[in-house]
Symmetry: C2
């Protein structure tokens, strides 16, 4: 582990990927602040997971951004924020290669924008996000070319960057890893995956459905590692 | 006036600039939806103005985004969202050329991100924002190079753009206009400036202070047009 301590902002959803990113940021010598969002998700379960993960990894500052839309119509348009059914499959091999219905318009763009504000406020340009271009290739805002364009924009956006005090770097340590590689990396770093929640459609007790895209990819990853997933499945 | 009717998203603050932008979008044949933000401003007065302006210009859909930060610390760092004093001057000539204390970290980046989500949801790529690189040259996220980089990013961010159904265009009709030119343009288009609010520090009745940067630039613009500003000053 390097001995420098720099501030960083880590986007933390409570899922497996961002829990791993948080551990990677720490292993690289960053003192991470965490940022999570409440934006009309149908389940608060993943936010509770984000709080557990932040606490377990000693995060001193965890900001929760509440986003509410009001007036003549909301945004809608995604199974994660509305009443559309979350698609279920028998195995990970059945997941299509189209952009999934769980796509949320401009989600990472919104999340990264808040991370940029948070980063500038605490005096850093380092932002970590757990995007993955392999297992989630369907999401346009998880691709390397998107991240590069976002970073270029950010370096023109803030007072700190424009004044040359601080350039913005988006760290995407998972972007080219398979789910199994992510899990292996996290286990090496001591991540407690029993605290995480990945399911798009958990039951009221918090148990994962085991059949949505996110569950299937997670289960496949653990299976490839030869490790049992420690969370409860319905 | 062109006869095509296309959807557009207009960022509407309730100030003079965005009221003018809304009128320009309509004059170009767009059917605008409006988007406003409640993000810890010290005064709700400008949001009431945004509602009046949207109604007066026949906007059918006006979405208000409420953003609240909770947990271990907020973002802070701007006179517009915290208890820092708003700077006052005797005249517009006394306004410095540094980035003002009223700068809000990543504000336009956050606003445009929500506009992108809204635009994709209603099936358009046209976004209007009233940034101005002349009178507000201090804000990094009001410059043409920033807007160009943001647009490039947005065209890699959404499902609609990536699938080639809809490219994203950020319209900045005020970017090279002086305040007087903006007012003249708005008066020509029938904008009722008595409905707008620009002051950073209005009194409880809503009357403008007349001495903050925003008031001074507004008053100077009206004076250069030879027109009386119709709002109340304290």
């Amino acid at each position: 582990m390097k001995q420098v301590t720099r501030q960083a902002v880590v986007l933390l959803s409570g899922g497996l990927d961002s829990a791993t990113v948080l551990a990677i940021a720490r292993s690289e010598g960053f003192a991470p602040s965490a940022l999570s969002f409440r934006y009309g998700q149908r389940h608060a379960i993943e936010l509770a997971a984000a709080e557990r993960v932040a606490k377990s990894q000693g995060v001193s500052r965890h900001v929760m951004v509440d986003i509410n839309l009001s007036a003549t119509g909301g945004f809608g348009g995604s199974a994660l924020t509305s009443d559309l059914a979350v698609p279920k499959h028998a195995s990970a091999d059945d997941i299509g290669s189209d952009i999934p219905i769980t796509y949320v318009p401009a989600r990472n763009t919104i999340f990264l924008s808040f991370a940029l504000a948070f980063a500038e406020t605490i005096g850093t340009g380092d932002i970590f996000i757990g995007v993955n271009a392999l297992d989630y290739s369907g999401y346009p805002d998880c691709r390397p070319e998107y991240i590069a364009a976002w970073q270029a924009m950010a370096n023109l956006a803030t007072k700190a960057a424009v004044q040359g005090r601080q350039s913005v770097t988006v760290h995407t340590p998972l972007i080219q890893l398979t789910k199994a590689q992510i899990i292996r990396r996290g286990l090496d770093l001591g991540v407690d995956y029993s605290l995480t929640s990945s399911c798009y459609d958990p039951d009221p007790s918090g148990a994962a459905c085991g059949r949505c895209d996110s569950c299937l990819l997670r289960l496949k990853g653990f299976a490839e590692c030869g490790v049992k997933d420690p969370i409860a499945y319905a």
